[in-house]
Symmetry: C2
Subunit: 169 residues, 2 copies
DNA sequence: TCTACAATGTACAGCGACTGTAGAAGCAAG
DNA sequence: CTTGCTTCTACAGTCGCTGTACATTGTAGA
């Protein structure tokens, strides 16, 4: 057993180390430091030996960030939502708008990926598996006009980014 | 009108410049140079003033790469398929296997994105749009236990990469 | 108390697949 | 000759982390 567990168990309601925060909220230690660096996690207090100490607030914040990331939100989108939360009070229309944009992004990705699935399935079904010189997979990959659909360019469907959140002013 | 067009029209069956190749095959000039650098486009001949000159072979090769990229294949996967083509002759089983792996990747992405779509739709439907303090979107983003599904971590579903193509030997 | 090892600190490089930039040089047309 | 386009090389930046190197600190067992 890691020593840390015993150590932290004793003072479970006191401030926690970065490692404990990492385990509690489901992130890597480096990721937490990275979030601090880019300013979406607040800079925590330090011990006399310069180590970060976190409160329950930090756990909540980090859980929010991680879960939003798991749901595909970009860092700028998350940053915007955090700022909206911190100016507490007022309607949530803007938050819902950001989530709605994220939903649009997800749906666009699904549409594209279904087109890819279709093309890949088709080319694999049409290949008789004999020779490379006549392989249908190679043929289709060499010539988009053999495709059924306009499947678009690679990963042009991006996340809700800075640009979509804050259009060119 | 760009001068290039007139210029190139005169000698359309001769070697072409990198800009003409870019337009013909649908890529950016820098991308072509990048492909050369990483070794999936062969190094072309140069003019006396050090400019790249391309043949129809290069057009074919670049079209293959771009179309495979549009269908989501990774560079290592494309590199492998190019090598399989160049050792011409033999069955296409390996090519089809790579395409099959790509299909698996695409299907896994679709599955995950559908889960995300579901969660996003649910949280947006449940929000009454009144106040940030009670916003359902914020609530769900703060607490994964309010989700219906295990929607997984961000972008853990990767492309067919070096590792999947050449598992640890 | 000594020793080992775990955890933390900073700083920086790397991933994938490009894209954009800087600065120099060439090339053709008006 | 000047203007404007293209090309050349080299390198930095994108995104969201992840991994590494090396130094320091904290803790537990002997
Ligand atoms: Zn085949
Ligand atoms: Zn196609
Ligand atoms: Zn709301
Ligand atoms: Zn969830």
């Amino acid at each position: 057993m890691p020593q840390k567990e015993k150590h932290q168990a004793k003072k479970s309601r006191a401030n926690m180390s970065i490692g404990t925060l990492a385990k509690t909220a489901g992130a890597k230690v480096q990721t937490i430091r990275y979030y601090e660096e880019i300013g979406i996690m607040p800079r925590p207090d330090r011990t006399h030996s310069n180590r970060r100490t976190y409160t329950q607030e930090a756990v909540k914040r980090l859980r929010f960030i991680r879960h939003a990331r798991e749901l595909g939100f970009s860092i700028p989108a998350i940053r915007a939502m955090i700022e909206l939360q911190s100016l507490s009070g007022g309607p949530c229309a803007r938050v819902d708008e950001i989530a709605g944009q994220q939903l649009d992004v997800v749906r666009a990705k699904i549409t594209r990926l279904k087109a890819l699935e279709n093309e890949l399935t088709r080319m694999l079904n049409c290949c008789d598996g004999s020779d490379i010189a006549t392989c249908r997979v190679i043929e289709v990959l060499s010539d988009h006009s053999l495709c059924e659909s306009e499947h678009g360019s690679p990963e042009n469907i991006n996340m809700v980014s800075e640009k979509t959140l804050f259009p060119r002013n």
